[in-house]
Symmetry: C2
Subunit: 711 residues, 2 copies
């Protein structure tokens, strides 16, 4: 079979993933949903979450429509361009949104059923929670491969095999659609969840002394809705975007291979290969999910690791096979302009790039986990500096976060250089894809955490016996290592994909270098470097302001609703849900729009090379700030948790427990860390890729229109 | 007169500056030093400060000796290289250290005499404090121009006019010496002052409820020593470095002009011009100091503005004159490799670049001042968010700091592009120099602040009448606008100088582009971008740990020394001074060494272009983090101060005063901001230039030795 025919395997694998998701979803919904109180609470959470998604999608529909029209008009004429890019853009946005809808729907079904299953046993609860997560994971990879693979096949037919460049240019629109939705979903979800969380914690827990998830706390439903909106839907859109970006980046770079330019069926191999790797990853992920089983008293951690790492490892080996199958037998040489490089890449080198990518991701993940883990030096140093108050706790946390950028960046730099040595810039893109090929099961593990967390909340609010909460807590804690590795994959693949996308942009814009020693490029680099700071500021301010509104409202309810604190009256949860929803929708617009407009303005005013400088600056500071903010937030979180149980043993031998002044300082640190790690940090990974993909989309336009001011 | 003869004017102007400094110093020391109590306190401060400087210089002497030997050996052979660079390096380090010594000696003489003068009147106090600052300012510019101008003349004679490249390469050693000392002085001084400050504030003010500068507080002498060590000596070394860096950067770039390459006396004009601009700036500064006079009841702000801005404005006009005098009559064209650009630069374009530089600096300063000023929206938003506690105060401050990067970066980018349009990359360097040419008087204004601050402390500790403290407070507050503009100049000139230096580096290393789309360059860019984060982490951790030690010691003294809090026993101030000294010296070594070693390792392992990528990444994130940290710190500081007096009127109409919960939250924010704005932030400006200048120094070596691993 020739590579073009093999492309049909891609949507087929996607359909398989969707069928699997449908099967799992039906199974979850067939599980018992507990007593009436549980159903009522779960209903409130589901209602709030779906209402938010509905309102969010309405806002995004307007945005998608406007951008689609602009894209269509701008691509009416020109070589390798087609107005059909507008359709691909809409499709990318739509499939991303649909994946979020499916995933969140089933996650909110699964949470209460996990609570119910936890009344019986740990293994039952694991089954339900993980199945819920698996629906999210498979929906994402299924819709992505169907959308992308289907588009590739359809546009190849429309434009013909000889106009590969047009097909590719249109496919970048799909990627841009996915990335746009992801950014809004991450930012909006992040604002929602942290406004609710900070509000619930500061007034409910600190001021009123209520325990976590106490039903008397008016913000607690909003907090639980936030877990779904931010951690499930937001993360799903995020990984959809990463997955698609890595595939499209590699495909566009594959056009650079000399054999492809020459034509012939074998020559299409490097172009189709990235999609086939994704398809293979789906199969490995599905198989992996069957290993996630545990018995009562068994170790759920082992089950998750076996499933996720087993799938990734198998896929690394399988990549060699797929590369052998698809790669031109004589190898492929890179073209730069009209020059054919004497560097000929063989099939096995593509496999090596995958291994480099996986190694990079695992290393970044382990380092990240070191900086954020209880009992390790960085977190302990924050705990120790909490003794002298909030100020030293904050200074220590910021210091740990900044310091934690060093090792991951060195690993990433090595990963970029090594994967480039293995298979050129195509290798860098493949390395990113290597980390993401088993997204199906990775996302299942990631999404399972918030489901278990929510299940615990429902157990608390519906006054279940303590053992139920203990089981859900155990489940929640267990995914942490796997999630840490997943975080490493997210950071690593973002950096590598961004690099791949921006080299692909150069190809589309027909520029051969981005020379930062030119003043206009350096100026672009400064401005690009500034954008992640400005973006984070928007996110931080949004959380700060929304949290303040939430705090004021919760304080008002405690003051004005008689009997609320005594438990004889119900809080007005809907008001809190409204505050978070309104704040999230209002405040996601400016940072999201900024990400899309900035590259366009820069490109059309100052030309492609200045835009290239902007992308470089944005990628560097974006990745750095993302690592800094995520790790500082994670470290503060665990510094706070170090006081739980029997307390933390300070160097002088004294134990400091929950409620001590040092613990209170640590609670403040954790609150500062919330918008760091759950709003700004993860959004930055999307920001850098979205800006690159916007540049990639307008690249062909910039190739003809050189910029208003030429320097 | 030909340009080479005019070069003699440079050390002559320097000698004039030193004579002026000597005259002012003698005048200050002839002023009455107050009563015995005042002399005793001032003696303790001076002793502590000079002891620190002595111990710091011993550490630095070892460092300088090692680096000098390495530099000498590495430059034993090779075209355009000479082992004499070691001598230039030592001279740069020595003159920088000497300027710090003079300045701090007289500042510690001036503080108590300012207190004494303030018992008489405001104008007398202004006179003494400003004269003290002027000694610092003139010592810096005097020693810099004598050292640099003298070296230029001497090395030109040694190597001959035909070996300009060798002279220039040796002069970069002078710049590296100055920058190395500056980085250590800033970091060491910053750690010293903030450890003492945080310790004195958190235990003395917050826990024990003592007022600022209370003599019962054991850390208060260390705090006052810190003001001198950090704000006077640290800032002096900082500006010495900036001043020298801007001049040397412009001189090296001047070699690129075609007329220079051709030779002839007129051709030397562009090379000598930067030094002559510095010499002209000295004259303007000296004249400016005579305008800084006020009568009792007069406005000292007006006097300072008149002196500083008058000097800068006059100098901008004078630059046109100097350019006309020095520039080749037919203009000068830029060479790129062997190609002569058709862009011919005329004398007046150099003047335009100066004006662009001044405009950029003023704009950055005004924006910075907006983000940090009481009563403006950013600071007010932090104050308002203090109502809901420390966490929201911190989130708001971080948000303001990040947001405040946007406008200055846009201005800077415009400044870079416009000054490049005016006079090429030479124009960018000249723009930086434009901001720094009147460093003599600017530094006088900057250094006058800590002198007045210290005078207030001495007034407090020696129980002077309240009006004395009021006068010194008024003096201290007054320099703020001028200081804000000075901060803008520091940031703006750092970014532009770094850019100039790294283009100069390319010239020395004989590479024609730094293409970030190459993976190895991008890897360099990532690593370079990470270094300011790591550097800041070291600085933050150092302050956090030293402050904790200080807090523990102060708590111990309050507990163990009977009668201390009642005022019947004396604190053990020397212990606190020791803690700060030891911490500063120990913890300045690693970050300082990192800055010097990183470019060397990168360059020799991966070649010049990878090193270029590293410099680009470091410059972008360094400048951004510097703006973020300085402004966040400044905004937190003034958010805290907003509660003073009659309190802050919140949007709901209620007044929150000193001691309210909101104020206490703001105090914590201010403490977090301390290491931001006074340790890490200002050091970053030096870091980016030091790394560039190290690259510039090893540039010629990299031109022949291409790196161990070639990509």
């Amino acid at each position: 079979m020739n590579p073009s025919q093999l492309a049909y395997a891609v949507p087929a694998a996607g359909a398989l993933a969707l069928a699997y998701a449908f099967w799992k979803a039906s199974w979850v919904r067939a599980q018992p949903a507990g007593n009436d109180k549980m159903k009522e609470i779960a209903g409130l959470i589901q209602e709030g979450a779906m209402a938010f998604l509905g309102r969010e999608y309405k806002v995004l529909a307007v945005f998608v429509a406007i951008v689609a029209v602009l894209l269509g008009v701008a691509n009416m004429s020109g070589a390798d361009q087609s107005p059909l890019i507008a359709g691909a853009f809409v499709l990318g946005a739509f499939t991303s949104g649909l994946a979020g809808y499916f995933g969140m729907r089933i996650a909110t079904d699964a949470n209460v059923r996990t609570t119910q299953a936890a009344t019986i046993g740990l293994s039952q609860a694991l089954d339900v929670a993980f199945s819920g997560g698996a629906v999210m994971g498979m929906s994402v990879v299924g819709l992505a491969t169907i959308g992308l693979g289907g588009s590739y096949i359809a546009f190849s037919m429309i434009f013909g095999q000889d106009h590969l460049a047009t097909t590719m240019s249109v496919l970048t629109g799909f990627s841009m659609g996915a990335s746009s939705i992801a950014l809004f979903a991450r930012v909006g979800g992040g604002i929602y969840t942290k406004a609710a969380d900070v509000g619930a914690d500061l007034v409910g827990k600190v001021e009123a002394g209520l325990p976590e998830d106490d039903p008397r706390n008016p913000a607690v439903i909003a907090d639980n809705v936030g877990d779904n909106v931010g951690d499930v839907a937001g993360m799903g859109a995020d990984l959809f975007e990463s997955y698609v970006g890595a595939i499209v980046g590699a495909m566009v770079l594959a056009m650079n291979f000399q054999t492809v330019q020459v034509g012939g069926s074998e020559a299409m191999g490097p172009v189709v290969l990235p999609m086939l790797i994704a398809a293979g990853g789906i199969l490995c992920s599905i198989v992996g999910t069957f290993f996630v089983k545990t018995r009562e008293g068994g170790n759920p951690q082992l089950a998750l690791d076996l499933g996720a790492f087993g799938a990734a490892g198998t896929m690394a080996v399988a990549t060699f096979g797929l590369a052998k199958l698809m790669w031109p037998a004589a190898g492929a040489a890179v073209m730069t302009g009209d020059t054919v490089s004497n560097l000929v890449i063989q099939w096995w080198q593509v496999g090596v790039a995958t291994v480099v990518g996986l190694g990079t991701g695992v290393a970044v993940g382990l380092i990240t986990s070191y900086y954020c883990s209880m009992g390790k030096r960085p977190v302990d140093s924050i705990v120790e500096q909490s003794r002298t108050g909030t100020a030293t706790n904050i200074i220590a946390g910021l210091g740990v976060g900044m310091q934690s950028t060093a090792a991951p960046i060195l690993v990433l730099a090595a990963g970029v250089v090594l994967s480039n040595m293995a298979a050129g810039l195509y290798g860098v893109a493949i390395a990113a894809l290597g980390m993401l090929s088993t997204t199906g099961i990775q996302l299942a593990v990631d999404a399972y955490g918030p489901i278990a967390d929510n299940a615990g909340g429902i157990a608390e609010m519906s006054h279940q016996p303590a053992e139920v909460r203990e089981r859900t807590d155990k489940l929640d804690a267990v995914g942490n290592t796997t999630a840490a590795i997943g975080k490493g994959f997210a950071i690593g693949s973002a950096a590598m994909t961004a690099l791949a996308l921006f080299v692909a942009f150069m190809q589309q814009a027909q520029i051969s270098s981005i020379d930062v020693s030119k003043p206009i490029v350096m100026a672009g680099c400064f401005i690009g470097g500034m954008l992640p700071f400005l973006f984070s500021a928007f996110a931080m301010n949004a959380v700060g302001e929304a949290a303040m509104e939430m705090i004021t409202e919760v304080r008002r309810q405690f003051r004005e609703i008689p009997g609320l604190l005594e438990g004889t009256a119900l809080p007005d949860s809907a008001r809190c849900v409204d505050i978070s929803t309104a704040a999230a929708l209002k405040k996601m617009v400016v940072p999201g729009a900024m990400a899309i407009i900035s590259p366009v303005v820069m490109g059309f005013l100052f030309g492609a090379e200045a835009l290239g400088g902007m992308l470089a600056g944005c990628t560097v500071t974006g990745v750095l700030l993302a690592i800094f903010m995520s790790n500082a937030g994670g470290a503060w979180d665990n510094a706070k948790k170090s006081f739980e149980g029997e307390g933390f043993k300070m160097p002088d031998g004294q134990f400091h427990k929950k409620g001590s002044p040092a613990h209170q300082a640590a609670v403040v640190g954790d609150t500062v860390g919330d918008p760091f790690k759950d709003t700004a940090g993860p959004s930055l990974n999307i920001l850098v890729k979205l800006m690159s993909v916007v540049a990639l989309v307008i690249g062909p336009l910039l190739a003809t229109y050189k910029g208003l001011f030429i320097f």
